[in-house]
């Protein structure tokens, strides 16, 4: 079930565009933020609201790699390996995360706490190597910083989830 707040937000966003279907991507983003991924129900609902068929919404989800149809971990770790980060050890950071969490690109840990993704430039080149966890940025990374962060997230996650 989509929350009423989300539905109200949908209405507001759709009203901003001269063509309803222009709102598909923002709607998908907000739906994903609330649910954690884009559920089939969300696809149907968005399609209905912007008056397209579900397949067109599905096309958009496929096109944009930041949209997911499967639940992600509570913390989605996105490690940049684009040029600046690559030159400053981005690949090693990715590998370190992968070893530490025991998962690869686009995979999720069995406890549902973490997922890992290799991504293109995050626009944080000045702090390379960089990564993004959900919407937070972490820069000038080293394996030690990663270890500390993952430990912290793990205990935060354990605390908050009932």
């Amino acid at each position: 079930m989509l929350s009423d707040a989300l539905k109200a937000k949908f209405d507001k966003i759709i009203a901003r565009y001269p063509l309803k279907r222009s709102a598909i991507v923002p709607l998908l983003m907000f739906a994903q933020d609330e649910i954690g991924y884009v559920s089939d129900e969300a696809i149907e609902e968005i399609a209905r609201r912007v008056e397209v068929r579900p397949i067109e919404v599905i096309e958009d989800i496929g096109y944009y790699s930041m949209l997911h149809r499967q639940p992600l971990g509570k913390y989605n770790i996105q490690v940049c390996t684009n040029v600046s980060c690559l030159l400053r050890g981005g690949e090693e950071i990715l590998e370190h995360c992968s070893k530490k969490l025991g998962i690869g690109h686009k995979q999720t840990t069995p406890d549902g706490l973490f997922s890992l993704e290799e991504v293109e430039c995050l626009g944080a080149c000045c702090g390379a190597p960089a990564m993004q966890v959900n919407y937070d940025f972490y820069e000038n990374l080293t394996p030690q910083k990663i270890d500390a962060l993952i430990e912290k997230l793990r205990s935060d996650g354990a605390k908050k989830s009932p």
């Binding site: 008056e51 397209v52 579900p54 397949i55 067109e56 599905i58 096309e59 496929g62």
Partner: protein, 773 residues
């Protein structure tokens, strides 16, 4: 839209104005698509292509202009009639004074353009494009269904791109079964988007999308791993490569091993031209290969896949004769002589009017003509009727009375119409081609569609105005000013009074007087309004035209009309009873009451269509059935003879618009005979020596004798659709319940579709009738 139109040859093709936007049934049409608008009235444009001067209408795209002077520019994403895509870059040409190569499929002609389509630069560019298209292509041409008729293969043959600079391993994916009739092979797909567009713009189903992007792009169906759609197979047909393949045809043969015969689909009344491909006396595929005929490339699921009833192993192949209450195989000679003896006996005892004949909606005109001749002159009764599925008689009567027999609309008229009024029918399910023509008229010609119907229907998405009514007949009365009007009907009348040349399409909801009223009022609309009556099956119209009716002779001449009788009597050298006969309902009542003692049924299954109980038929002293299959009716017969199907005989059929087309014999089925052969042989058993050696002899007589059928024979024999314009004075409809549509779906057509593996294999066929895909 019109404003945008006048400025630029492009128009955004969104849906037409829809006053009732709020409540229209979803799902909704896809995004607006770019399509060029050709303006044939505009000032012609002259340009030069490969040194040839070309003059063409403004708005024409270069690729079409080149085609007009016989220059073929290879193309994948371009497909005539669909919106422009500009995706494949195969059609590049060089245009003088333009820096880079241009895509011929999206470039609009302009005066003084100088175009080269075959320079080295162009050839190299195409070769390079092919190299890209082949990066992941498996090149499994030796086993690919498309091999031999593949547009990619042809282009590689022409431009040569045998060697590749890509060293990466080709991405492979297993083929996917989208449905029992549609398979998808990802590696062969060149992402031309034709399938997506034909499904969206042509079918208004929108079942496909693109998954992912870049090198990973893939065609995805609308229900996860599967398709849920109208299963028309258009996507398979337009696919330039072997990426989409047909469940009935795949891996069966090579295209060059088949013979191709153009004939007419035998399911609904729309009369689509189809090319049957035959190998070893078996049909393997149907498509409208040369896009001839008014349906262009269109065929629905029944036309494209549903021909397989012909190959069914349940076909009757030997006559069966009842001995000791059991139907047993017998010879043709025995079957026909038994029939003649029993009929003679019954006629001698109880008179000719104790015998009745039921004709078919699927058999050829010639056979229908002979059937009623047989009933009237050999049996000596007018007790002949068929399952009437649309009121053609009333349309003919009304147009004749108004001296307006030039107002029969053709299938092309529906496509080209600027205004269409649809009453009391849901063509999407019952007349797939009519629905397609209507959609194209709206999409490509900005036609306005007005609908008056009792049920919701998918075409409402294309409608400018949709009126939901309780009763279409009452609505017609109100429109024509004889019944209580409502404000909504007032709006409709008002809107139509501003249209020109409206095409009026009506279904079985309107009958008798209602049709007369509709025509009378329709003729007062501005311009040249024209009419189509919709009837269910391949030759529903022909059965009526040929007088398989108790009160009407061929060409809608009344039986009661002595002059008309005299005309046919002199042609046939035999007398026609002056009393109109029993209609179908009266025939069944007569069987029940014992007055009808013998019944001959040709290609019809009254147990199903009229709901006649087998026990009722058992009351008959003699029941003769000619059919393809052991139907419920055949099961209780005394003599059953195996009839030939549409693919196994020659003849003509008339579609619901009155356009006559030729059936061509494509194969033989051992043991069967066409209704033509059966009737001639049966007549001979009665001592009649009919002068027909082939169905063409009958056709010549029809052309000479049946009013409205004086058509040029050559036009027909070369595969054309010729308009018939019947005129006559048919008596008024006896009772309304003589006319009823069988409400077939996209996947059924009376009894014959029950024997189609393809149609019955579809999940969609199990959904309730009227499901919108």
């Amino acid at each position: 839209m019109s404003e945008a139109n006048s400025k630029s040859p492009f128009a955004i093709l969104d849906q037409p104005t829809r006053p009732d936007d709020a409540g229209r049934p979803g799902p909704y049409p896809r995004s607006p698509a770019l399509s060029p608008r050709v303006n044939p009235q505009g000032e012609a444009v002259t340009l030069t292509i490969d040194g040839k001067s070309v003059t063409t209408a403004p708005g024409t795209v270069l690729i079409e202009a080149a085609r007009q002077v016989g220059i073929e520019i290879p193309s994948y994403c371009y497909y005539p009639g669909l919106s422009l895509q500009g995706a494949c870059r195969m059609c590049v040409v060089s245009i003088e004074k333009m820096g880079k190569l241009q895509t011929a499929c999206t470039t609009i002609v302009s005066n003084g353009m100088v175009v080269h389509t075959d320079s080295d630069e162009v050839k190299n560019a195409r070769k390079a494009m092919l190299e890209f298209l082949l990066t992941n292509h498996p090149l499994d041409c030796p086993v690919c269904d498309k091999g031999g008729e593949c547009e990619l293969q042809d282009a590689v043959f022409r431009y040569g791109a045998a060697e590749t600079r890509f060293l990466e391993t080709k991405q492979h994916e297993e083929e996917k079964k989208f449905s029992s009739l549609v398979y998808y092979d990802r590696p062969r797909c060149i992402l031309c988007y034709r399938c997506i567009r034909v499904c969206d713009e042509g079918m208004d189903v929108n079942a496909y999308g693109i998954g992912f992007r870049g090198g990973l792009s893939v065609i995805i169906p609308n229900r996860g791993e599967h398709l849920e759609c109208e299963e028309c197979g258009m996507c398979i047909d337009v696919c330039p490569v072997g990426a989409l393949t047909s469940g009935t045809y795949r891996y069966k043969t090579r295209p060059w091993e088949m013979t191709h015969v153009g004939t007419i689909c035998n399911h609904c009344g729309d009369g689509c031209k189809t090319t049957l491909a035959i190998r070893n006396n078996q049909i393997l595929r149907a498509n409208n290969r040369d896009h001839s005929g008014f349906n262009g490339e269109f065929l629905c699921a029944k036309g494209r896949f549903g021909w397989d009833f012909v190959n069914s192993d349940q076909r009757l192949t030997a006559p069966r004769i009842k001995r000791n209450r059991q139907l047993e195989s017998g010879s043709w000679e025995e079957a026909l002589s038994t029939a003649a003896a029993r009929l003679n006996e019954i006629i001698a005892k109880s008179g000719p009017d104790s015998v009745a004949v039921l004709g078919s909606n699927h058999t050829a005109n010639e056979e229908n003509y002979l059937l009623q001749r047989f009933a009237r002159t050999i049996l000596g009764t007018n007790n002949v009727d068929h399952h009437r599925t649309g009121d053609f008689s009333s349309l003919v009567g009304a147009l004749t009375a108004a001296n307006a027999t030039d107002r029969y609309a053709t299938m092309q008229d529906v496509f080209e119409a600027s205004s269409i009024l649809l009453l009391g029918s849901d063509p999407t399910h019952e007349h797939p081609l009519v629905a397609y023509q209507i959609r194209q008229a709206v999409r490509r010609h900005d036609a306005r569609l007005y609908i008056v119907n009792r049920a919701e229907l998918k075409l409402r998405r294309q409608a400018s105005l949709y009126l939901k009514v309780e009763d279409e007949g009452a609505a017609v009365g109100a429109l024509a000013g004889t019944g209580a009007a409502s404000p909504e009907l007032g709006t409709l009348r008002e809107r139509l009074s501003k249209e020109n040349d409206t095409v009026v399409v009506f279904g079985d909801a309107l009958r008798g007087e209602q049709v007369t009223g509709l025509v009378r009022w329709g003729l007062t609309l501005p311009g040249k309004s024209r009419f189509v009556a919709l009837g269910d099956y391949a030759n529903s119209r022909g059965a009526a035209d040929m007088g398989v009716l108790p009160d009407t002779l061929p060409g809608y001449a009344a039986v009661a009309d002595a002059a008309a009788r005299a005309r046919f009597e002199s042609a046939w050298g035999a007398e026609i009873p002056a009393q109109p006969g029993r209609n179908a309902r009266a025939i069944f009542a007569g069987i029940e009451s014992g007055e009808i003692k013998a019944l001959l049924v040709f290609g019809s299954n009254p147990v199903r269509s009229f709901g006649v109980k087998p026990e009722t038929l058992r009351k008959l002293e003699f029941l003769f059935v000619a059919d393809l299959f052991p139907t419920e009716t055949a099961e209780v017969a005394d003599v059953v003879v195996p009839a030939a199907s549409f693919a196994e005989k020659s003849g003509t059929v008339t579609n619901t618009c009155g356009q006559i087309q030729a059936l061509k014999r494509t194969m033989r089925k051992a043991g069967t005979r066409s209704d033509f052969e059966i009737l001639v042989a049966l007549a001979a058993q009665f001592g009649a020596n009919w002068p027909y050696r082939s169905s063409e002899d009958v056709l010549k007589e029809i052309i000479a004798q049946v009013r409205g059928y004086a058509i040029p024979l050559p036009a027909l024999l070369v595969g054309g659709a010729v308009v018939t314009r019947p005129q006559g004075n048919p008596p008024p409809l006896e009772r309304a319940d003589l006319i009823f549509s069988a409400r077939d779906s996209l996947f059924t057509s009376g009894s014959i579709s029950r024997y189609s593996w393809a149609l019955n294999s579809l999940d969609e066929a199990k959904k309730p009738h009227g499901t919108i895909f």
